[in-house]
């Protein structure tokens, strides 16, 4: 186990380096001259050249990369022209919104997707199996932004049960005191029921849409794993030993099925982060995805690469946590 942990943690370093190299290349390749952008439209050619020198744009790439890396360590992700503030600050301010949405969607996906996959496998060819396969096949093909718009049309416009997509809290509701930045949690902790209700109301539709969009691949994978497990030798031996169905299916089989599912959560998280951008766009949710997209639409190109870097780094650590969790949960790795 220790070897596994050590190897896995060490792997993070080259991966993170790789991530920074990619974003460095993307930033470097950005259209336009960053010096030009910074110097302003009235700058003279000498002024621009001076700016270039100061920004180190005339140095070789490796040196620039080194400066870039150093900057990252100091938290310098550039500045946003639309907000006028450092990008890192902007991102950190908006991370709670994205986090809340992602966690809520993850909850939805796991709470519905996993049981659905399990039951679909256990009652193979039952109606639930066919329904889950339909959802699986259909859900994977639906563009998330379209699902979001569809949901808005049906639940907001037609049925009127969902609120207008104006943000995390309804109009006129005072935000709860900030403990975690997650409005639902903060409202709960401070017992502000109106704020809690409003936050949940606003969160519901985007979380359901995002959760649904990642549920399809999850359910498929859970079903496939469970089917495989149900055909395994040890399950057959368990039947032969006269153990009741409850123990064999929902004990032995399920436990073995859940272990590879842990690794699936890493993949699901990746889908969530990707879907986040689009869902935040559809529902005008004030998260980091929306921030990057909005900035880019105003020709402010800095934030988007920093956003990509941010997501890349988070994804690396999420995968690390998932792999470590897997090592803990699977006795074959835990005990070598």
């Amino acid at each position: 186990m220790l070897g596994y942990v050590a190897r896995r943690v060490l792997l993070v370093i080259p991966t993170l380096l790789g991530v920074t190299i990619v974003t460095f290349v993307l930033t470097y390749v950005l259209p336009g001259n960053p010096a030009l952008v910074k110097a302003g439209p009235l700058a003279t050619p000498e002024h621009i050249a001076e700016m270039e020198r100061r920004m180190g744009l005339d140095r070789p790439m490796t040196v620039q990369y080194w400066h870039y890396l150093r900057g990252l360590f100091h938290g310098d992700l550039g500045e946003s022209q639309t907000t006028g503030r450092p990008v890192l600050e902007d991102l950190l301010q908006r991370v709670p919104a994205t986090l809340e949405l992602t966690l809520a969607a993850l909850l939805v996906a796991l709470a519905v997707g996993i049981p659905l996959g399990v039951v679909a496998a256990v009652r193979r060819d039952g109606w639930l199996d066919h329904a889950s396969r339909l959802i699986g096949v259909g859900g994977v093909a639906m563009p998330t932004f379209w699902t979001g718009l569809l949901a808005l049309y049906v639940f907001f416009y037609a049925l009127g049960v969902a609120p207008p997509p104006l943000g995390r809290l309804g109009a006129g509701i005072t935000p709860p005191p900030r403990f975690t930045g997650l409005l639902t949690v903060d409202a709960l902790l401070s017992l502000q029921w109106r704020a809690l209700a409003s936050a949940l109301h606003q969160l519901a539709l985007p979380a359901l849409v995002l959760g649904f969009s990642v549920m399809a691949p999850l359910t498929r994978m859970v079903r496939a794993t469970m089917l495989e497990v149900l055909e395994s030798d040890y399950v057959k031996a368990a039947w032969a030993a006269g153990l009741p169905r409850r123990t064999v299916v929902y004990g032995d089989a399920l436990r073995n099925c859940m272990i590879p599912v842990v690794t699936l959560i890493g993949v699901v998280f990746g889908f969530l982060m990707a879907g986040n951008v689009v869902v935040e766009s559809v529902f005008a949710w004030p998260g980091i995805g929306n921030y990057a997209v909005t900035a880019m639409m105003s020709k402010d190109s800095g934030p988007i690469q920093s956003f990509v870097l941010f997501v890349g780094v988070v994804y690396v650590f999420v995968n690390l946590v998932v792999d470590l969790a897997y090592g803990l949960v699977d006795p074959r790795i835990r005990l070598g």
Binding site: G18, A141, F145, Y153, G270, V293, V308, G312
Partner: protein
């Protein structure tokens, strides 16, 4: 079921190719008198803000989406397969290096990386193709590498080596063709992802810019009208995306059942 899917794809592809000929309306010319009309016999899918016929625009947009997806998939497939084949066959440092590169691409959620590349390169069709192609290379790279590892130990490879074939010939002439069936399956499935990516990129403004009609961009245009109830503007382009992607997925699954049954459930 998959037969129906093939039919759908053919219909979409052919109508897209023949769009200028078969579509009665001009996709770009505004017709202010008939702005935002509901679906009717004259306009089966209604009209948009400028009075343009939606059905026409959707069929025309199909060309863009399909072309981009096809081009991106073709590039990713070729590049990925070659890299994977070399990596798998030669092993050692070449393998390590190429796999590290692929790992780096996969360290990002693929859509996020595509966003970054598209933002860096600019909103041109060719750049979108490149962006998607890059994020798809790992799929084929890993697949072909895996197949190559499996296949190079087999007897006919041994035979080819003993007869004295040059390495390059062995890789490309003998072994690669045997790695192809799962690649074909993946490519078909990846077409669906490619279309979804183009559409999503265009939706958030990173992809194809108007006036070029594209399904994602059209959906984005329609987003604003939900609050006023004009549902047809966003609904139909999105349905076109879904139907096309679904068809590719079904065909891909059917191909998988035929070509490589042991991949079932993957």
């Amino acid at each position: 079921m998959s037969l129906g899917a093939v039919v759908v794809i053919l219909v979409v592809a052919l109508s897209a190719a023949a769009a200028p000929v078969i579509m009665p309306y001009d996709p770009d010319e505004p017709d202010a008198e008939h702005a935002l009309e509901r679906p009717s016999l004259r306009h089966w899918m209604g009209t948009d803000l400028y009075g343009r016929d939606q059905l026409t625009r959707i069929v025309h947009a199909g060309r863009v989406d399909l072309l981009v997806a096809l081009a991106a998939t073709a590039i990713a497939l070729s590049l990925g397969s070659v890299l994977g084949a070399i990596s798998g066959y030669r092993g050692g440092w070449t393998d390590q290096l190429l796999m590290r590169a692929i790992d780096t691409i996969q360290a990002f959620p693929s859509f996020i990386l595509a966003m970054g590349i598209a933002a860096a390169l600019g909103n041109r069709l060719s750049n979108i193709v490149i962006a998607i192609a890059i994020t798809h290379v790992p799929i084929y790279g890993r697949l072909v590498r895996g197949e190559m590892l499996r296949v190079r130990e087999m007897e006919y490879a041994e035979a080819a080596r003993t007869v004295g074939n040059r390495r390059r010939r062995i890789i490309f002439h003998h072994l690669l063709p045997n790695c192809l069936p799962p690649v074909v399956v993946q490519a078909t499935l990846a077409m669906g992802f490619a279309i979804l990516t183009v559409a999503a990129l265009s939706y958030i403004g990173l992809g194809i810019r108007p006036p070029t009609s594209e399904w994602g961009a059209m959906t984005a245009e329609g987003a604003g009208y939900i609050v006023s109830g004009e549902w047809w503007v966003f609904l139909f382009p999105g349905t076109a995306i879904m139907a096309t992607v679904l068809s590719f997925n079904l065909v891909g699954d059917a191909l998988r059942d035929v070509l490589d049954p042991r991949m079932k459930g993957v």
